[in-house]
Amino acid sequence: MSKKSFRQAINEALRQEMRRDPRVILMGEDVAGGRGGTSGVKDAWGGVLGVTKGLLTEFGEDRVLDTPISEASYIGAAAGAAATGLRPVAELMFVDFVGCCLDQIMNQAAKFRYMFGGKARTPLVIRAMYGAGFNAAAQHSQALYPLFTHIPGLKVVVPSSPYEAKGLLIEAIRDDDPVIFLENKVMYDDEEDVPDDPYTIPFGEANLTREGDDVTIVAFGRMVKFANEAADRLAKDGISCTVIDPRTTSPLDTGTILDCVTDTGRLVIVDESSPRCNLATDVAALVAEEAFDALKAPIRRVCPPHTPVPFATVLENLYVPSVEKIEAAVRAVASYRVKEEA
């Protein structure tokens, strides 16, 4: 057990799985970097933010494959390799680039098993960075997990901490279905205790990071951290919150969400993705349908505005849901009282 960053946790998960299973390979743009350069330096980048650094040295060029900037071909190749005996982990760099290869994910990998009558296995992991907070603007900052969650056949993982990232990534690599694994790039330097041994965290099992009586907060990815912070602040004022980290948006642990909402009667959902048809709307619909009688207040969603992610820091800070906004939403539902009939 030692302190590891989100980046190190992911690197270690990849390394341990590549050691365990020779069929696990890595591919993507600059996952090593440096091939064809004039300096002769190999593993020049180890991923654009250094997440895969050092893997080339240990596993060689046959298993750590740099690709051309050519998402349709290599994401499709990853799907094809997965269907024919390998267990590829393909890195899409920024999830926004899915625009260049959505067919290979949505129409190919996700559909094989169903449309081939259950005969295909596609053990593919696609890793990609998501999230605002990096001044990377509209084409490098989106939180697109709802897009993938919408597609049957895909599993979607949104880890909220280094411990979660390692266990969920190893689970993803060992899973026989296509998995989209989304890493919030603002979190790469977050640190916490992470076991040195390999371990797995099952999909579809939410984690309760706080347990309280008054309000349930469902949050995804980096928003879990914000929700915890808000819950700790609110606890000082006597408002106790349950914070649910669903870990995976597909499958979604609807049982835990409904149980917690039944206990607290109040629900706030924090989702960094664009507000229309996102996970917040999905969870809100679930609770409205299945736990309506338990609700003591309207459901509140804390989401960005329905705009592209802006560039300027001041605007970006306004865009991303904040601890303060979460706190305000919780206070609003906690103090909500049904109006008496006149």
Partner: protein, 379 residues
Amino acid sequence: MSGTIIPVTMPKFGLAMTEGKLASWSVKPGETVKAGQELADIETSKITNGYESPAEGILRRHVAEAGEMLPVGALIGVLADDAASDDDIDAFIKKFRDEFSSGEESEAGSAEPQRRVIEAGDLKLSVLESGVDHDGVPVLLIHGFGGDLTNWILNQPALAEKRKVIAFDLPGHGESTKEVGDGSPVTFAATIGKLIEALALNRVHVVGHSLGGAIALELAALKGDAVASLTLIDPAGLGQDINMAFIGGFIEADRRKTLEPVIGYLVHDKSLVTRAMVENIIRFKRLDGVVKGLKTIAQTCFHDGKQAFGLRPVLEAFRGPVQVLWGEDDEILSVSGADGLPESVTVIRYPGTGHMPQLEKASEVNKAVSAFLDKAEAK
């Protein structure tokens, strides 16, 4: 002690503890307390434990409120008698806080015992050593099924005041290799034999808890000369029955809801089972190879719902001193296992205590073990 003001500070339970949460106060401001009376419940990432008053006096202030997370050594309350005025108390609090915050940095850098990895044969064992290396015989702590070296966090520091104390994770547990072989106490004992050699120890006092007690006995059978004394806490091997709901539940339960009642079997006071404790066990069980190893151990040691070994003959044959400590309300291994032991064996039964007296009755167990070891060495 007229006018004396005594700080009540965040205690340090275990070597790794750097901060703790004041879970609740047991005493209101203005109430008089005796030394050793429980003042508050402190929650750490591992356990919740009662905090005993360092002295007699009136609890004058709650400096920290329930729910607050504070670093070890931070002021949480103030004890004094009537002679101290409120102004004195305020001044004391201010002074303490000023000094504490300035001293915080340097303390963080102080040397703490660190885990290290020792190779015992093919296996890598995670070992935590503490205490001063006197000429005396060191103490080796062996945890039980599903446990790890942190089971001793309330005991190792106390025992280490006078002796070198070695806690370690058994194979298949904690941070050690997850390979358990056939999972039998004999196999574990053989590995410990190699650990003792690797640590270049001649003799050790062995303290074993639960399955660790059975392992301690097998170690005594295997390497009698190396075992200076045996302290067996709620040990396996002396009775027949075993609570299979615990063993099976521990292996199968994988979510907090299902695991929490299983962990409850370990203690008499169920409030000791905290979220953090359950979470740590869930995290342990997620590690590759752990569940497989636990199943192997359970299959070997507890097949057919009975303990697969009777170690009373080993105990009777052991020539060194033996002490048996047992919680009277042990729900996993019945306290009846302590009945009918040879007269030479010191037996202490703790009322209102479950399977883990070293946790539930930490200070009493620490005193009993220390006294027993002192006596053993005096002989």
